[in-house]
Symmetry: C2
Subunit: 332 residues, 2 copies
């Protein structure tokens, strides 16, 4: 053993000085004519989709990109330094929070259903609105999506329903919405009862759902959206924020939607409340209760702001919880 803990990475500069630089790499003579002179400059990222099974159902998560925002001000009820310490322990930047968006699709016997609708191109950042390209890469044709099932009506979850000129982006889909969420955002009298930052959701709800008139179905807490997929109220983040339990063939998962924003940040501290929470106390209470239950039952979960591919589990860790990504597999 020629290295020890202290010298493992030391001495590079002096070693470099003592060594001749390696010869420029070149193909051997015989191959030189065939080998191109310059390396391929390939700068594309892998397409953002991932598949796994829940019983006989195929789940496909599809990345819609991300936005960046200041860390300062994101968590309402914790000192910035505490927030930054949690970020650092996850190797995340101290000043800029990357908020990713990932849709969950399930191929059911009745057809493909989507959970939430993405941003389309309307969220003001070049880094998001990637779902259309990633759906294409995944072979998911939006005209074949038979239902879009909604967790709540924040802009990043519903704006992808329509194009900038108001056309339906899921032209053949039924929209399945939590009745409580629908009731809140479609009643103008609630505008002044909503936190100021949430008020634009009233107009956006009108805009996005209007082209789908006649094909919107409200469901109650506990009801099946489609066979095997059941609404689970998780009110707080919005008045009707709803998760979905998906079961088939003895296997199950939960689409947790916005029970956390980034789980790296919020699972360790379920009591933290973020600027997007409509009712912060209620959101924090249902967050802890939900994380406790999915951790206890070791249930597979996806979420809208989880790190791609948004497929994993929660485990208890100290006074909080920790997101554990499921193993990536080339086999579905």
């Amino acid at each position: 053993m020629s290295t020890d803990r202290r010298t493992l990475f030391a001495g590079s500069a002096t070693i470099a000085a003592a060594l001749a630089l390696p010869a420029i790499l070149r193909p051997a003579g015989a191959q030189q004519a065939a080998a191109p002179a310059a390396p391929t400059a390939t700068n594309a990222q892998a397409p953002g989709f991932y598949r796994f099974k829940v019983g006989g159902l195929t789940v496909t998560t599809v990345h819609d990109g991300f936005v960046r925002r200041p860390v300062a001000g994101f968590v309402r009820n914790a000192p910035l330094a505490e927030v930054q310490a949690v970020l650092a322990s996850n190797f995340m930047a101290a000043d800029t929070l990357t908020v990713p968006f990932t849709m969950t699709f399930v191929t059911t016997p009745a057809g493909i259903v989507a959970f939430d609708a993405g941003n389309a191109t309307q969220a003001g950042a070049a880094t998001n609105g990637q779902a259309a390209a990633n759906m294409r890469a995944a072979g998911i044709d939006p005209t074949r999506v038979v239902a879009v099932i909604f967790s709540h009506f924040h802009g990043d979850h519903i704006s992808g329903l329509t194009s900038a000129d108001g056309q339906r982006l899921f032209p053949n889909a039924e929209l399945i919405v939590p009745a409580t969420e629908w009731a809140w955002w479609t009643e103008d009298g609630n505008l002044t009862r909503s936190p100021e930052g949430q008020r634009p959701n009233f107009a956006n709800t009108k805009t996005r759902f209007a082209p789908y008139q006649g094909r919107i179905r409200q469901i109650a807490d506990g009801a099946e959206a489609v066979p095997g997929i059941r609404a689970m109220a998780a009110y707080g983040h919005t008045p009707g924020h709803t998760m979905y339990h998906i079961a088939d063939g003895g296997e199950q998962m939960v689409y947790l939607a916005d029970i956390t924003n980034r789980p790296e940040l919020m699972a360790p501290k379920p009591e933290w409340q973020i600027v997007f929470d409509f009712d912060g106390d209620m959101a924090a209470a249902v967050r802890r209760r939900t994380l406790d239950r999915v951790a206890t039952d070791r249930m597979r979960v996806t979420g809208y702001h989880f790190p791609f591919p948004s497929n994993g589990y929660f485990i208890k860790d100290g006074a909080g919880y920790r997101f554990v990504p499921a193993d990536w597999s080339s086999a579905i």
Copy 2:
């Protein structure tokens, strides 16, 4: 809040009985002719590659698939129940260990270099040997790989050098090998000095390197393989097992090769020794020292058996360490 911790997932059966099943989903009349009757059955997994930057260098990890093996017998010096407890805390199976393979490529000014060569189609499982397809998806043409840099000569790291009929799969590459590793496996007198399970490596080394005669360069510990990429001895897993430090523009990472097999299993217990370790005590000592250093310095790492995309960090956790995947990003 209509749910509490105890009832969050309860009552589905009774609720289901009380509710009518939802109507069969169908597109509205106007779209019915255009909408195909059956959903698209798309069963392909996303291609297994991922890109990120280290300074001005582009790193691409490329998945080569996986093999499954019994958990029993994998760790030599721990009771099976302890091994299974660590697996369970990572939501990994108790009886079958999935061992993934992921190659690291770096696009340098001198051309594309690969770390280790994959399995090609010779490792006896339909689930591995996927690197060729994933390189193609990533736009990496093996004829343009100017160097393959080796950590060690176990079969899963060198067999991908040649096709089943002995042709070079990286036809224009120089092979850069740790001198200590080369010396061990090319000296027949070492056969009887090697553990029985390691002896097939002598013949395989001959077979895989023979078609590259005249283009093999041995390097010493601490030497640069190519500018900016430096060998770091980590002997133990094999007599010359070597990691590589990659630096550019003030950023750095380490290709850790087999400093751990799956980090979920071995980082929490660096003292565990596995069946593939040539010298288990030495491997465990260098493992702890290396994990301590990359955790202390918060260095980005890739590894050959890390969960895809094999890009992350180690953090101290109790008496051991924990692998923290780097954030997946659609932006490179």
